[in-house]
Symmetry: C2
C-alpha cells in the first residue's frame, strides 16, 4: 500500500472504532490490530493517537456536512425532514464517538477538534440560509437558526442516552421546532414575519405546520 | 488575613478578571497585582492557574445556580421570565468568561470544569421539574427541558457576540420557546398534553401564551 492509501485505511479503521466506543477507551494497539499492522507502523503514519483521532474526526465531519446538502425544490419542511433523517443516520452510526466528542471529555476539546465542530455547525447554518434564499440574515434569523442547530445537537445527545424516544418522532419534532422557534421570533418582529410567510408559502394548507398550529390552538381553548 | 480569607479574596479577584476577559488572557501576575500580593504568594494558595480558575468557576456556578431559585407561586410563565432575567444578569456580568467557558477553549474542558457546567445544568433541570411539580418525568419531558436549557445557553452565547438583539426581548422569547417546544411535544403525545394543560392552567386566557398562539395561527391563514 502507498503512504496515502495506508493513511486512509488507518483513518477508516480508527473511525469505526471511535464510533463504537468512546475514543478515550480505544488504544493504538487496538487500531493497529484491527488494521492488521504493527503498533510502530501506526506511529509511522500518525505521530500519536490525537492526530489519528483528528484525522478520523475530519473525515466524519466532512461526511456529516455532505448529508446536509439537499436539492432546493419542494416544501421547506419536507427538505428539512430529509436532512434530519440523514443526520440521525449519522448519529446512529457514530453514537459513542459522537457523544464523547459533543460532551467534551478530557481527550477532546483541542483547538483542531473545536474548529472541526464549528465548521460542521457553519455548514448546517449556510445550508439553511441557502434554502431560505437569504443572503444577509437579520440578527434574529441568525439567532433562530444557530440556536436551533444547538437544539438539534442536544436532542441527538439526549436521544443517544438510552434511546427512549423513537428517532423518527424526534426527526419530525425538530422540523416542527424549527417552525415554531421561527414563529415565536416572527410573532413580535415584522422582518421575521415576512421571512416566515415566505418559508410557509409552499407548505400545503392542510400540511404538517397547519396541523401543528391547530393542535397548539387546542391548548389555549 | 487567614488562609481561607486570603483564598476567598483571591477567588473573588480572579473571578472578576476572568469575567472581564477570556481566562486564557489573564495571567497569574495580573491576579497577584490586582490582589496586591506577590506572585509566589498566589502559588502558595493555589498550585497553578487552573486550580484558581476552577475555584473561581465553582463560585460563579454556585452563584448562577442560586439565581434559578424562585418562589413557587403565580403563573409559571412569569416565574420563568424572572429566572431568565437573573440568568441574563449573570451572563451580562460574566460575558467574556462565560463565552470562553461555554465555547470550550483549550484552557478549559477539564474534568472538573465539565462537572461544574453539568451541575449547573442539572440545577436548572431540577428547578424546572420542581416548578412543574413532576417527580418522575417522562422521557419526552426530560428531553424538552434539557434541550431547552441548551437553547438558553446558545441564545446567551449568540447574544454576547455583538449584543445585536435587546436582552429583554430574548428573555421573553425564551419563555415562549419553552412553551412552544413543550407544545410541539404535547401536540402528538397524550402524556405531554396533560402536562401542558396543567402548565397553562394558571396562565391568563388573554395572556402571553394565548397571544402567541393567536399570532402563530395568523401565519397559517
Amino acid at each position: 500500500m502507498g503512504v496515502e492509501e495506508r493513511r486512509q485505511q488507518l483513518i477508516g479503521v480508527a473511525l469505526e472504532l471511535f464510533s463504537q466506543r468512546s475514543p478515550d477507551e480505544v488504544s493504538i494497539d487496538e487500531i493497529a490490530s484491527a488494521a492488521g499492522i504493527s503498533r510502530p507502523l501506526v506511529y509511522h503514519y500518525f505521530p500519536g493517537k490525537l492526530s489519528l483521532y483528528e484525522a478520523a474526526l475530519k473525515r466524519a465531519s466532512e461526511d456529516l456536512a455532505s448529508r446536509f446538502v439537499e436539492p432546493r425544490r419542494g416544501p421547506l419542511g419536507a427538505r428539512l425532514l430529509r436532512v434530519m433523517r440523514r443526520f440521525f443516520d449519522f448519529v446512529d452510526e457514530h453514537g459513542p464517538g459522537f457523544s464523547a466528542l459533543m460532551r467534551g471529555g478530557p481527550a477532546v476539546g483541542s483547538t483542531t477538534t473545536n474548529a472541526l465542530i464549528d465548521a460542521v455547525r457553519q455548514a448546517a447554518y449556510d445550508q439553511i440560509l441557502a434554502h431560505l434564499e437569504v443572503e444577509h440574515p437579520p440578527a434574529r434569523l441568525e439567532l433562530v437558526v444557530r440556536s436551533w442547530i444547538s437544539l438539534v445537537e442536544s436532542t441527538a445527545l439526549i436521544w443517544l442516552d438510552g434511546r427512549r424516544i423513537p428517532r423518527a418522532e424526534l426527526e419530525v419534532q425538530l422540523v416542527h421546532d424549527f417552525a415554531v422557534l421561527t414563529a415565536v421570533s416572527a410573532a413580535y418582529d415584522e422582518e421575521m414575519g415576512v421571512l416566515l410567510r415566505r418559508m410557509l408559502k409552499d407548505e400545503p394548507p392542510d400540511g404538517p405546520f397547519a396541523d401543528l398550529v391547530a393542535r397548539l390552538a387546542d391548548f389555549t381553548s
